[in-house]
Amino acid sequence: MKEVRDWDEFKPGASEWSPHLSRREFLELAGVTLALAGVTGCTRPPRDPVYPYVQRPEDSIPGRPTFFATARVLAGLATGILVETHLGRPTKIEGNPDHPASRGTAPAWLQASILGPYDPDRAKNVKFKNQMSSWAEFQKTWNQQSMDLEKNQGEGLVLVTELSSSPTLIDQMKRLKVRFPRFQWIQYEPLFRPASLLASQQIFGKELSPLFDFKNADVILSFDCDFLGSPDSPPVYARDYMERRRQFDQGKPINQLFAFESSLSLTGLKANQRTALRPAQIENFLKDLFSRLENSSSSTASKELDSLATLIQKKKGHCLFLAGPHLSPQAHSICHYLNARWGAQAVKYIPSPISSQGNGIQALKTLSQDLSAGKVKALFFMGANPVYSLPPEWKMAELISKAEKSYCLSLFEDETAAACQWSLPLSEDLESWSDSRSYDGSVSLLQPSLNPLYDTRHRHELLEFLITAKEVRSYEIVRAYWQKQFGNSFEKSWVTSLQKGIVENSSLSPGRWTALQKPKLNEASQDSSKLIVIGRPCLKMYDGRFANNSWLQELPEPRTQVTWDNVAFFGASDFQGQQLQNGQILKIKFQNQSLQVPVWILPGIAENTLVLSFGYGRTHSGKIGTGVGFNAHQIFKDSNPDMLEADLEVTNQMATLAVAQTDQKMEGRAPIQTTESLIDSKPKAQASLYSENPLQTPEEDAWAMVIDLDSCIGCSACVVACQSENNIPVVGKKGVLQGREMHWIRIDHYQDSGFQPVPCMHCEKAPCEPVCPVAATVHGNGGLNQMVYNRCVGTRYCSNNCPYKVRRFNFLHFSSYSDLERLQKNPDVSIRPRGVMEKCTYCVQRINEARIRAKVDNRSLKDGDVQTACAQTCPTQAITFGNLKDPKSRVKALKTSSRNYSLLEELGTRPRTTYLAKLSAKELKSHD
């Protein structure tokens, strides 16, 4: 009977429909539903006095969003965000303009992370050995076990977390140490490589990490470092770099970015000069460069090296040397040294906000030995998912079962949770309090913007329970910690920090070092010409943690346009004489095992190098992410987690890849122009026999957009921002295969020519308008080409007649959301039913909002009042939106730029969205 009483009939998520419903269960439910339907009529008014909502609570204006400053943490470092909430439900994430890492922009993963708390596959209940349990049960178990542990001073207690720079967490760990002096804390981050920190130890004598100032950098040498594209790179790097590059338009010499890389990164694609090198060649090149710069009489120096060295010497103080995380500690030490010598004005070294102590693979190795020796009594995983990201030969799942008790606190019932006895549901960061440092060391406080949806606990709360055996809310824990830090001015500092999203003056000041140690060079590494396989973080999935995020899964990978899959990049179209085709399955053979991967030919990959992306092949990720792609983590060895010599076998099988853009060549057309080709293309003849009067817009506004193709790095943040703002559904792999993506802005990729974001052009003479039989697409205020969803009958003629093909059609009922998913939707944008056409609106809801505000304040709109979602989030600020009738607007100024051109101008559609041509090869190479 007791079990029955303990059974929580209203357990979280109980209302969700189980996918495995037997006939019997269905009949039971149907019967109960019928019976209960009558019961609802029997409710009484509440016994206690209740009061209606007469006076609205402060700060709550129905229909107006509230923004909360908080942060998201990736790889231990925070990026500041503003969370837009409507009546208590977060709907969108923006960058926090006051935060140093973001400065108002947010990359794709950050934009997409708004789906996190609403994921229907989240862990919702405490489970013990896959059976429903409760927090009370867990607490009882732990209390019993902690007695024993306390006797042994915590011997055998191991906590595995993700990499963390959270001051509160670190403080809690210290306090846990008091109770269990011999407990072990391991921070495990699958893609964190300690090389940079180890090297800094050698060069500076302490752990320092570089802080780059791209605004002051004239020469940037990137050695396999994707500072523009990698999700763990602060978005402000891309912004600063581009701001400096755009000064070329004002006559300042262009900043020179040299990329030496094995893969083809977004940084490499934007580099003024890019050299494809195998990893060993990069190391050797770096060594040569070092010798050449240090003792100018180096004999090995090639001509290329010489000119590079001359350039560096000329720009002394403004040169940056960036080493990718995958390079050896030696390469890092060279770069640290050269930065200190040649880049003094553009780089600072600060004490690292994250520590390499007790981290990573080595610590896990010890853990696995302890596990197999049966020494581990209580094993906690908090967020980390090593069962997925460690190679299968570790047999991690099996080892975990050897621990006396194993607990996993995680967002999903993931691979590690499945291996542990206890699966504990973790609170999303948008649901609880925390804090974290950012790339420059400054601290952000994380505050919740959503009431917890389920009975979950945050890391801090679980840790506090381990320390005190008491349930304390994360609010009190974080507050208590900062009370100690802020001291007397607590209340004021606490409120300002929360409002601004950053704790004032918390950034770390540059570290000092006594003597700069010269890096010790070992012999030039031998590069066998054997095929090597290298692993790189996925630009979308990172290490696989976002696998259940449908927006990211459907976001085309910028370089390949592949969705819902990962592929292996290869540089040549044949392998040892065998022709390769995109999607052909390759068998990578290593240690009597093999991994099958679909190949994608990407010219520019280093010779005989196969590049895999991490983050796919999840086995326990939920409905979206399970079974998508292959798991690249599983083939690499501990000695080198990013590179492996392997054999390849070309098979005849083909993988079915959902590619968003099937043709990635320009086919003799010129959608992407450079400043050079723009001059070549002669002025177009009058397209029409009628006189071309400038369009008369009776309103005071003429909205327009300019997209700078030279600044676009292809990161796709705009695509996800638009998806979030405008409630754009996903269509799944099958939908993409059929060519039915719904993105209102897409990023076209043309090999050798780069990226081109294409939203609706809002043509002044829009071809879509005259062909609609029911006038469902018409010109509206401010020259907007508008879609009237209610009037649309779905003939799709407008889409056929759109030369830019930016219209999107709801072929099926794509927007069928569960109640949970619906919470995320922006209430200012209608959800489109099936059979209706839709497209970019220039975020008309934002225009109207700004217009109303201006009217209330009795002023006219000024430049910057209206930002489309894409322009707002673009990390490089490549998109500019504004009013052409405003003579002072930035968009007006850009339209007069010599680089400005219209896409398919010869058709005479007169698009309001125009492009700025890319810089020509000559301009990119120009020095002073």
Binding site: T662, T795, Y797, N801, F811, P833
Partner: protein, 430 residues
């Protein structure tokens, strides 16, 4: 003749009906599923917003054309031979237009709002957008259906009277009598009949040209390379009559065999139809040639790209099949041996219909699948529902036609009598 002019309830007829209605059933299933799920069950996508449905629409409406052409234009032109095949051709027109008219409705994203295309007084003060060719299309098709229906019925009135008089059962007599509108065959009745017939023929004549011109403008008014062409209206009309005559040949040959109408539908009729087919074939072939010529002559890279994509792109096989069926195959008509062989003509007529369907596929699908920006290019791959709807519509047509041929004379009895009376001295009937 009255006996042979229509089917009787015999085993072959029943079996044919069963076969045809099996396809009709496919159609009903496909349409039901379409209404439940949406047009996404078809292979259409971005950029190919129109697929089978519109190709089928143009194909069916094209087939319809021969009926009106035969009964109106050839009537005005004094081609007396047209009488013998006019009824079967007109019946074909009605049902082909019915099949055609369904597709624009089925292809809508929200078919339940189809009436928004009609200009009716609506409380929101909204009217259709008259600049859209789809509106012209709707008017054209509805006008065409109305006039064809009237024309067809007018021609049937004297025949209903003959059937009424020949029927044994009372209720059958009553039904035919109802539709015969009290026809007695009096001189006055014939006088008015003839006048009205002439008027309707005059009215239907421009419609033959206008309907398919407007269907052509559905495409020509757009700026898609491969659509945006002034040649489309005449080229579409020729194509329509081409496919229509092919269908007339198919049906005439089938009915001739099934109803033993060799004396009514003589070799002369077949040969004349075939010659017509050849004439239209030449116009259509000229259209194909000019399309390619103007593309290269204009030097427009998008138009040139379109032509090259058609004949050397992923859909090249379909385009070459089109050339084979529409341009090359009908050349056999030049030879008397083939021209006068019913079997050869039957095979040819089926080939031409296949060819004309592929032509519509080529125009609709290949043009859309690769237009201006290569980034937007995407293939269209039909699904089983696309095929089911096409086959199903044939089932609908065949079922309707078989049922009509059971109750209506497929040979214009009264007009034939009239012809006979014209050649022979009039006998005085007691």
């Amino acid at each position: 003749m009255i006996e042979r002019s229509r089917f009787q309830t015999t085993k072959p007829w029943l079996l044919s009906l069963l076969f045809a209605s099996a396809f009709l059933l496919i159609f009903l299933v496909a349409v039901t599923y379409l209404f439940v799920k949406g047009v996404g069950i078809w292979g259409i996508n971005q950029p190919v917003g129109w697929g089978f449905a519109i190709a089928n629409f143009v194909w069916w409406i094209g087939i319809g054309h021969a009926g009106t052409f035969i009964s109106a234009i050839l009537f005005l032109a004094g081609q007396e031979w047209r009488t013998n095949i006019s009824r079967l051709a007109e019946t074909m027109t009605i049902f082909a237009v019915v099949c055609a008219g369904l597709f624009p409705l089925l292809h809508l994203g929200r078919p339940w709002f189809f009436y928004w295309l009609a200009p009716y007084y609506d409380t929101m003060g909204l009217w259709p957008q008259f600049r859209s060719p789809l509106i012209w299309d709707m008017f054209a098709v509805f006008t065409y259906l109305t006039v064809s229906l009237l024309f067809w019925y007018l021609g049937l009135v004297p025949d209903f009277a003959i059937l009424r008089d020949a029927s044994q059962k009372l209720w059958v007599r009553r039904v035919y009598g109802f539709f015969a509108l009290g026809w007695r065959g009096s001189r006055t009745q014939w006088y008015f009949y003839r006048t009205l017939f002439l008027l309707l023929a005059g009215l239907a004549t421009p419609l033959v040209i206008s309907v398919h011109s407007i269907v052509g403008m559905d495409f020509a008014a757009a700026l898609v390379p491969g659509w945006h062409s002034t040649i489309f209206p005449p080229y579409f009309v020729a194509g329509a009559i081409f496919s229509g005559f092919a269908m007339v040949l198919t049906l005439a040959l089938l009915l001739r065999r099934a109803l033993h109408l060799e004396d009514a539908i003589t070799l002369r009729h077949l040969v004349l139809c075939a010659q017509f087919l050849l004439a239209m074939n030449l116009i259509v072939s000229y259209g194909y040639l000019m399309e390619a010529f103007t593309a290269y002559y204009s030097g427009d890279i998008y138009d040139i790209g379109m032509v090259e994509n058609r004949f050397f792109g992923p859909y090249a096989l379909v385009s070459w099949l089109m050339i084979l069926c529409n341009v090359l195959a009908p050349q056999i008509i030049w030879f008397r041996k083939w021209r006068e062989s019913p079997v050869a003509l039957f095979i040819l007529s089926v080939i031409v219909q296949i060819g004309m369907w592929t032509e519509r596929f080529v125009i609709v699908v290949t043009s859309l699948s690769r237009d201006f920006l290569p980034s937007a290019w995407h293939m269209f791959i039909p699904t089983k529902w696309d095929v089911a709807t096409l086959l199903g519509s044939m089932g609908l047509f065949a079922t309707l036609y078989l049922l009509a041929a059971r109750v209506l004379p497929m040979i214009p009895l009264a007009e034939l009598r009239e012809d006979e009376s014209r050649t022979r001295p009039r006998e005085v009937t007691p």
